[in-house]
């Protein structure tokens, strides 16, 4: 399923089909503080795009600009080819699920969900029908007459979702909607949210600081760092081919190897492998799970495998796997992910394929 949507996104991007939303050179400062610098991003019809970033990266501001609660200092936003950023929030066919749900405390669940339709003066029977459909969709029909204060956080979350989706927006914005839920409910909601999005076919822009959440749910991830887009790609691509050191470290866990390339050979301390890169210093990202533990140095190493000897410094148990800190010859320390084992001792032999070492750009300091 995920691959079909991914493919659809790629197709629509490649075939030049009009994207649903085009963000063009958007910048925003609060006072002298630049929050967003020159953001350009496109969102395809039916796509689940996650804006991922640390706190202070500008992700919420970007969402608020799309919703219309903030205005950009420069740049423009187009929806289906028409200017969106000049409209007040109540004229945009965009709805938001707020971080703390923002349910109206004086209205019942039913009245909350029907709010958008009522202010749009939809016929009464249509409102009733659509509200009850929306409540059924989020499995909250039996709470129709409750006040928001009487239902749990997870239930409020569902109501907030129903209240937004009932208006059939072109685009749904979600501002860290799962951050207030506990871990189990959160995982459950991630799955539900993703399947709901496929069901309704509405484009979602989801803001989160949780890279795991971003990977589970998204068709594409837009990684934001200090107001600039670091990389925009599918979860698989952003994980396996991070463009920058920051991306590699923020999404998943990685080893950064500072390597000197000289006439087709990459050298890092005592290890080396063949690369097709011009001479000079290069930074490589090597995922811990791409480093294998081998029992001994015996046997013929394959030609395209790099082998290292090391000592375990630290062993962190993670359940199915464990993360080892291995001190290798010549002071290089590598993180290695391996199947969990009772205890490991003594010297180890590690190996990795040069193809798994991905060259990444240094992420410059900004401020």
């Amino acid at each position: 399923m995920a691959t079909t949507t991914e493919a659809a996104v790629v197709r629509s991007a490649k075939s030049g089909a009009e994207p649903l939303l085009v963000i063009r050179n958007v910048a925003k400062s609060f006072g002298k503080n630049p929050v967003l610098r020159d953001i350009s991003l496109q969102i395809a019809e039916g796509e689940f795009l996650t804006i991922l970033g640390e706190s202070g990266s500008g992700k919420t501001t970007l969402l608020r600009i799309i919703a219309g609660f903030e205005s950009a200092d420069s740049g423009e936003i187009l929806m289906e080819g028409e200017r969106l950023d000049i409209l007040p929030p109540y004229r945009r066919r965009v709805n938001t699920v707020f971080q703390h749900y923002a349910l109206f405390p004086h209205l019942t669940v039913e009245e909350n969900v029907g709010y958008g339709l009522r202010v749009a003066r939809a016929p009464k029977d249509e409102i009733a029908a659509r509200v009850s459909d929306a409540l059924a969709m989020v499995k909250m029909s039996s709470f129709a007459n409750s006040k928001p204060a009487k239902i749990s956080g997870g239930q409020q979350q569902r109501i907030a979702l129903a209240r937004a989706l009932v208006n059939r927006p072109r685009l749904l914005l979600l501002d860290e909607p799962l951050s207030a839920l506990d871990a189990n409910l959160r995982r459950q909601m991630q799955v539900e949210l993703k399947s709901l999005q496929r069901e309704v076919g509405i484009s979602f822009v989801f803001v989160t600081h949780d890279q795991e959440e971003a990977m589970v749910m998204s068709d594409r991830i837009a990684l934001l760092r200090m107001g600039e887009l670091e990389q925009v790609a599918s979860p698989r691509e952003i994980y396996s081919r991070p463009a920058t050191a920051y991306t590699a470290q923020f999404i998943g866990h990685t080893n950064l190897l500072r390597v000197q390339v000289q006439s087709g050979t990459a050298r890092c301390n005592s290890i080396s492998w063949r690369v097709e890169l011009p001479d000079g210093p290069v930074l490589f990202s090597l995922r811990p799970e791409n480093i294998r533990l081998v029992t001994s140095a015996a046997g013929n190493p394959e030609m395209d495998v790099v082998r290292i000897r090391g000592k375990i410094q630290h062993q962190a148990f993670h359940g199915a796997t464990e993360l080892l800190q291995v001190v290798c010859d010549a002071g290089l320390t590598l993180s290695v992910r391996a199947a969990a084992r009772e205890s490991r001792q003594g010297d180890l032999h590690l190996e990795f394929s040069p193809a798994d070492a991905v060259p990444v750009r240094e992420s410059p300091e900004r401020g």
Partner: protein
Amino acid sequence: MFSRAYRAAITLPPVLWVAVFLLIPYALLLCYSFWSVSPSQTIVHEWTLDNYRELFRVNVYLQTLFRSMWIAARVMIFSLLLGYPLAYYLSFYAGARKDLFYQLVIIPLWVSYLVRAYAWKTILGSDGVLNTLLQYVHLTKHPLEFLLYSPFAVVLTLTHIYTPFAVLPIYAALEHIPRNLVEASHDLGASPLQTFWRVIFPLSIPGVLAGATFAFVLSLGDFLAPLLLGGPSGIMISNIVVSLFGAAYNWPLGAAISLSMLLLVVSLLFLSEKLEKKWSFR
């Protein structure tokens, strides 16, 4: 935790204070309201309901009570009409000037009530600022007499004095409305006006009720404004109580009227609190 002696020592002074200055006077007032005055102007210590009968039998008492309520109702309405927009502006639009404007609302409360009442006397009188101005610009030939010594003057003055009491609870209620509710309303397609009537106003009702109660109750028992500015047509119930306790020397009747007023006010406060509870959602 604390010894009994310590607890008794810190509890006693306030309890004594309340007993001596509140409970005993009220008990006395209650007793007086069931006593009577002899023709020779002495208090007859015999239980009777005559004072309460008198209250309902003599027209002028009920009339004055209704006039007082009508004046208080108008003060309440005008205070809300002036106070709500002010509080709304303060809370939603004043931005950086919020503190300044808030202080401007508070400052009049530091000025003596008496001074403000006299100020209106100077403004509204026949030779007052307003009449002089109106004649100067030839809008009127003679001073407008209804301006001073009338219910109008009382309502105007009391509105001026009690509007801050309406502004503050409304402002507090508006400040408590999470701003993301306003954003959510806009997000769901509601215009600013729809948002006001469907979200902001309903959530500010507890503040409106508190402000209305302040304005009404404080005006209802007011004594100085009708004395200074009311004239014969602007007499309120407190003026009657004062004269009954003073010149007329009829403490029993005065006590009966006071207690009836107290009962009225306490029921109003009770009702308003019930309503406030009904309209608060946190």
